[in-house]
């Protein structure tokens, strides 16, 4: 065996990764360039907004509700170790709006939306529907990609805001029903300790995550391989890459927003 072949293998994967990053960046830049280049397709945008935003509400709401409840239990148990049970309301609120609301919401939307976009566009590609769009003088980037990316970027902050609220409510219900907190005190503690920037930073994260989710769904769908296997692989890759990118972007944004 050539002693250099392990090195070559590492080099190949690094090159492949760099190539992939380059292609995704070009795809993103191309998508955004259509923001200012007519024609626009408002009906496609509204339909994407409905699919991505409205129909994701149940899953984001349920996730937030149970997470808020579990968070209250954990912080109560942890806080009890040094007699700080009273921090439950403020930490539940801060934890939800800064981290868990956007991240878990983003991951759930990645599972729901990146997969469905990739599968839909992949199938359209495989069945020549994307070629058909071009022959009908319609740019697939304008007609398919931009509406989805824009809708996800705008809908995610709203989903995060709803998730935050439901999550805090979940924590509140658990705290009042199970941990014998006073309802009024819990609410006032929640409101008093929460700052505007806590909430806004979470919403900005949400917008970034929404952009990532739809972009990955569109990119992997549009570049899907042939046949059922190609579409399957595109769907899987879109969800995995979107999820990892969300977590990585979350770390970077947290570093930018909150590191002193």
């Amino acid at each position: 065996m050539n002693p250099l072949s392990p090195l070559a293998a590492v080099g190949r994967s690094v090159l492949a990764l760099l190539q992939q990053i380059g292609q995704v960046s070009l795809f993103a830049a191309n998508t955004l360039s259509h923001l200012v280049r007519p024609p626009f397709y408002p009906r496609e945008f509204l339909s994407a907004l409905f699919q991505i935003g409205w129909l994701s509400l149940p899953v984001v709401g349920l996730t937030a509700f149970f997470t808020g409840g579990a968070l209250a239990l954990q912080i109560y148990a942890g806080g009890a170790r040094f007699n700080a049970e009273a921090v439950v309301p403020s930490i539940v609120a801060i934890g939800m709006v800064r981290e868990l609301g956007p991240v878990l919401g983003g991951l759930m939307v990645a599972a729901r939306v990146a997969s469905s976009i990739a599968a839909e566009l992949g199938t359209m590609k495989v069945t020549e529907q994307i070629d058909a769009l071009v022959t009908l003088s319609t740019d697939p980037m304008k007609f398919l990609t931009l509406p989805r990316v824009l809708a996800a970027t705008l809908a995610m902050p709203v989903l995060v805001a709803v998730g935050d609220t439901i999550g805090i409510m979940g924590g509140y219900l658990v705290a009042v029903a199970r941990l014998e907190f006073n309802a009024a005190t819990y609410l006032s503690n929640t409101v008093d300790f929460l700052q505007l920037w806590d909430i806004l930073s979470g919403l900005v994260k949400g917008a970034v995550f929404g952009f990532i989710v739809a972009l990955m769904g569109c990119y992997y769908g549009m570049t899907s391989g042939r046949g059922a296997q190609g579409v399957g692989r595109a769907t899987k890759t879109a969800v995995v890459v979107a999820s990892v990118l969300i977590l990585a972007a979350n770390y970077l944004l947290t570093e930018v927003f909150f590191s002193a």
Binding site: P39, Y41, M124, T127, E128, Q129, D131, A132, L133, V134, T135, L136, S137, T138
Partner: protein
């Protein structure tokens, strides 16, 4: 008139087109025959700009297609895709009227729908089909809808990619007749890809045989039987023995 001159196209190591040259006179119907993987679809896709050739020129009415307004260029085309390629998120009439609802040809929804229904009738479909979704239709009906979409905006040039693939012989005959009628009555320039010899007999004025990325033979349909070309002979008669290598 469509003129292809010395088109080359490769995908990785696979040289699909290797100097394809072809002329289709205005208002005539050319059928391209050839085995699978000989570059028939890629030829059409090159003309439409869905695939960019590595070298060679393509001219339509004397103008190079790589220059000029792409939308205006595409507006002159209609295309019937092999699998229909109907948009399954839209009802049939919106598929047919796709071009009439956006862009330069945009018109009011009611008018677009009316034209769609008229085109559906032209391809033998009842107006009730207009509100159904493509997935609810049989293969033959999908082909008809796709044909209606291809002719909806009155194109000057229509491409048919394997129009009878996947249909039973009777439905194939019906679609072939329909294509012939439409080509004649609209006076369009037509290019059809097929390996169905009954399509060739019905649709073609001129036949070109593509083999290994070059035009092996090209001539009027009537002369095909006496072409004297062993490749054409083998293909037309469906013989396993001959100059075209086959796997078995």
């Amino acid at each position: 008139m469509i003129e292809l001159t010395n088109i080359h196209k490769r995908f990785g190591a696979n040289k699909v087109l290797q100097g394809t040259s072809l002329t289709v006179p205005k208002g005539s119907s050319l059928v391209i025959i050839g085995g699978s993987g000989t570059g028939k679809s890629v030829t059409l896709k090159c003309i439409l700009g869905l695939v960019k050739p590595d070298s060679g020129t393509i001219k339509i009415e004397g103008r190079d297609i790589s220059s000029g307004d792409r939308d205006a260029f595409l507006a002159r085309f209609g295309m019937l895709f092999q699998g229909g390629a109907l948009f399954d998120s839209m009802p049939v009439w919106q598929n047919v009227a796709f071009r009439l609802q956006r862009g330069a040809l945009k018109r009011p929804a009611a008018e677009a729908r009316e034209i769609a229904i008229e085109k559906l009738r032209r391809v033998g479909l009842a107006p009730e089909v207009a509100d159904r979704f493509p997935a609810e239709l049989s293969g033959g009906m999908q082909k008809r809808v796709s044909l209606a979409r291809a002719i909806a905006a009155e194109p000057e040039i229509i491409f048919f990619d394997e129009p009878t693939t996947g249909l039973d012989p009777i439905m194939s005959g019906v679609i072939n007749e329909l294509i012939r009628e439409i080509v004649v009555e609209m006076g369009v320039t037509a290019m059809t890809i097929t390996h169905d010899m009954t399509s060739v007999d019905t649709i073609a004025d001129k036949v070109a045989m593509l083999h290994r990325g070059t035009i092996q033979w090209c001539g009027p349909r009537a002369q095909m039987a006496q072409s004297g070309d062993p490749y054409v002979d083998q293909f037309v008669n469906g013989r396993a023995e001959g100059p075209i290598e086959t796997l078995r």
